[in-house]
Amino acid sequence: MKPKVAFFDFASCEGCQLQVVNLEEKILDLVDIVQVVSFREAMKEHSDDYDIAFVEGSIMRPMDEERLKNIRSNARILVALGACACIGGVNKLRNKWSVAEVKAEVYGDAAIEGNPYFDVLPTRAVDEVVAVDAYIPGCPINKNELAKVVTSLAVGRKPTLPNYPVCVECKKNENVCVFEMGQFCLGPITRAGCNSICPNNGEGCDGCRGFLEDLRVNAMKDVLRRYSVSMDQMMKRFNLYNFKREGY
């Protein structure tokens, strides 16, 4: 009995769903072990009968909330796909301003009151609206992690994510530490699983996969002070994907 799988997207850039397509030839294996019954971006067919729902994107409006709750009730397992769904990602950057401010600045005098398409609330991650069974973090996700989650669900194993920092992967890849190059990096407090792709390419980690559950925030602040990173620089980097996260 092949599990039935569906993909949904809310407010997002759809880059995470694109990683499904980026599985390239492996996508043929994927559709062999699961039955994709709904994937709006790639398929015309749609069915409400699915076991596993992958949800990308953040929740912006009451109409989105309703659609999400409907998906939750149809699915046995709901997987949050990507930073926007898992932690809000860049979508949460606008939560710094009130909804009224943002609407006024962007639409000006245009008559949008009462129009549900424009009825915007502060951005929320998926688990701030419904219960989530598994997470695939990252901006975008690492397609290998997606494959791991799918195979885990297929062999009957609870998908798990690494609970150690990006430093572990970065060191194994023998990168010169970003701090040594005069930049700074959120790797020590960010969840691994991306294979330290940004430091591999000479850039510090921006924390797009979300911080560790048990983050050593004071130790991190000490390190940043040692390397003369200003408070302002620090907060701007922290806030890129993890705005309004607890713990710091």
Binding site: K158, P165, K171, M181
Partner: protein, 633 residues
């Protein structure tokens, strides 16, 4: 000793590089630092380097390594993965060579790790003398600035000449095949010695205490404030262990491809600084605080490994202190602080004797076995009867365990619940708490699993002969206890009076009801059972109360009685207190402890209780041996 002029040396290297069946890995520049990497050209080699980012251990124990390859679409299709490529490692500094020698002891000692052995055998090492010293290193203080053995060749680079020492016949053969060398002159021999002699003075940093005193100093300073002070700044990022040449702990995972057929079991570097290093299926983490984890690393390097193997496992390379972002990883600084402190409180850390017991099989490849019986005992506990496909008996001692594999999911350690006397079948009592045990619950009779073992030390049955036995089992601790209980029943005459006390949460959690009945019905056996709580309507007429409530009512002669206690971690403290009240001596109390066990053979490092490996020195312990161990209870 032989010599080559620079051109001959380059020719030697280039010929090695051109040799198709040989991979040449040497020190190269990367981003302003140095790394070991494949050489395409002799000119890339930088013997004047100070230190590499990662030590050459990565060539012998790769950060990610395939152990097994399997096909889960078939009932049992498993092969050991292996890498037989021949390699030459060029530019290994003395301190790294010494570290490799240490790694050899761990991986080629008592239980030989086949993957490591193959790679080590196929790797020729050309070590090289230190020419430049990194700022944080302190090899001079440890004597690791020079090495006498372990290498196949040792080269010293001068501007005008390369002096080469042959360390092994294989090294000599390599020179003969690929190099043109001349006999070394007295002048060359002298200047090599001079270079090595002058090295210690070039290290800016000096240890204030001899390395052979580290054990003693650490023994006295378990509660020193430095551990907590530094740990407060610790990111527990694992960097120090990953870049250390003597850190060799690893974790094991199963992966399956999207086709749900091909899969593999891989091992990856792991570190004791990481939070989940000691995590077990039930969710418990045994070394939870950053302070404990931070401290453990120093004790392992400076005390536990020296006691076990005879070497101090720090070679002063300075990698950890250079790369630690919080700047708290420096063994030199920590040991210097400890050496000059005077702690009033001397806390002795007794490490039990290393008891060597052989494992007569291929270490990492599981044997095929079949589920021949399955019986649910409670909602979450199931008893399985397993038989090896070979038809042979497992050959275990009571108290040992096996590692059970379900390929694609993983491997879990399970105590053997039956006595050795039951022939080719053995029992496993499995509680459904993690991935492997949950998947096992979905398997049916005739399905195949993988078995490695028997592992662990098992109960010392000899020491129990002629004694009165007091068995105390809590919850699923009754399972390993049952293997001994039944063994003592089968050999009844060897033991005197037997008392069995068993306690569990509530009536629905009772295990081994059939055995309970037969034990209860025996004339020369006292069997008492209790439940912690009981709801009305549970049909329970027996004792209600925690297991310690049963102990006062038992009549025992403390001098001739051995107590064997197995249960959940929280139980031990209370039970042992009651036993001491009864007058029992520490050495007459036997316990069986649980930790996270991955390899089962003392290599992956996860099951450590301070310096003790639960999979080697345990899981059965004599209470006297471990009562002082801070991490035991």
């Amino acid at each position: 000793m032989r010599t080559m002029d620079p051109d001959s040396w380059k020719g030697f290297l280039d010929r090695l590089i051109e040799e198709p069946k040989l991979d040449v890995v040497g020190v190269k520049e990367k981003g302003g630092r140095f790394v070991f990497a494949p050489l395409d050209d002799a000119n890339e080699l930088r013997l004047d380097y100070d230190v590499t980012i990662l030590p050459p251990k990565k060539e012998l124990l790769p950060p990610n390594e395939d152990l097994l390859l399997f096909d889960i679409s078939k009932p049992f299709n498993v092969l050991a993965a292996h890498d037989d490529r021949k390699k030459v490692l060029v530019g290994v500094h003395p301190y790294d060579m010494i570290a490799i020698n240490m790694m050899d002891e761990v991986y080629l000692g008592t239980h030989v790790d086949d993957h490591y052995e193959s790679r080590r055998r196929n790797t020729l090492i050309i070590a090289s003398d230190i020419l430049n010293v990194p700022p944080k290193a302190f090899c001079g203080s440890l004597g690791t600035h020079r090495v006498e053995s372990g290498y196949d060749l040792l080269v010293t680079q001068f501007d005008d000449r390369y002096v080469v020492v042959e360390g092994t016949p294989e090294g000599a053969e390599l020179l003969e095949r690929f190099a043109e060398t001349k006999e070394a002159s007295d002048y060359d021999i002298e200047r090599v010695e001079k270079l090595r002699d002058e090295l210690p003075a070039r290290y800016e940093r000096q240890l204030l205490v001899d390395k052979y005193k580290w054990s003693e100093i650490l023994e006295e300073n378990y509660e020193h404030p430095i551990w907590e002070e530094n740990a407060r700044k610790c990111l527990t990022c694992g960097t120090c262990t990953l870049v250390c040449p003597t850190c060799v702990c690893y974790d094991v995972h199963d992966e399956v491809e999207l086709d749900l057929e091909r899969g593999k079991r891989t091992r990856t570097w792991d570190g004791c600084l990481l939070k989940e290093f000691t995590l077990v299926g039930s969710g418990e983490i045994f070394r939870e605080t950053p302070t404990n984890r931070y401290r453990h690393r120093y004790y392992r390097k400076g005390m536990y490994l020296p006691m076990r193997y005879g070497f101090v496992a720090c070679v002063g390379c300075g990698r950890c202190s250079t790369q630690c972002l919080a700047d708290i990883a420096d063994p030199l600084e920590v040991m210097n602080v400890l050496a000059s402190s005077s702690m009033e409180d001397k806390k002795k850390l007794p490490i039990p004797e290393v008891k060597v017991h052989g494992v007569k099989q291929e270490l990492l490849v599981p044997k095929a076995a079949e589920i021949i019986h399955k019986e649910h005992m409670t909602d979450i506990d199931t008893m399985y009867k397993i038989r090896l496909d070979s038809g042979q008996a497992l050959g275990h001692r009571p108290g040992q365990f096996i590692e059970l594999s379900i390929f694609g999911i993983g491997e879990a350690p399970i105590s053997i619940a039956s006595s050795p006397g039951t022939g080719p079948e053995f029992d496993l009592l499995v509680r459904k708490i993690g991935d492997v045990t949950s998947k096992l619950d979905t398997l049916a009779l005739g399905d195949k699993v993988g078995i490695r073992g028997p592992l662990g030390n098992g109960f010392n049955v000899e020491a129990l002969k002629g004694r009165n036995l007091l068995y105390i089992g809590g919850g699923c601790g009754l399972a390993p206890l049952r293997s001994l209980i039944n063994h003592s029943m089968e050999n009844r005459k060897e033991f005197k009076h037997i008392t069995i006390l068993y306690g569990c949460k509530d009536p629905s959690a009772l295990l081994f009801r059939n055995d309970m009945q037969s034990w209860g019905s025996m004339a020369d056996v006292d069997f008492k059972v209790t439940v912690d709580t009981c709801q009305s309507g549970d049909c329970w007429e027996g004792n209600v109360g925690v297991i310690t409530t049963l102990i006062p009512g038992v009549d025992i002669d403390p001098d001739t009685t051995m107590a064997i206690v197995v249960g959940p971690p929280v139980m031990y403290k209370y039970v042992i207190r009651e036993l001491k009240e009864k007058g029992l001596q520490d050495e007459n109390i036997i316990v069986s402890l649980e930790r996270r066990m991955k390899c089962g053979v003392g290599k992956c490092g996860h099951c450590q209780i301070n310096g003790v490996y639960v999979c080697l020195e345990g899981p059965v312990f004599n209470y006297a041996d471990i009562k002082e161990l801070p991490e035991a209870f």
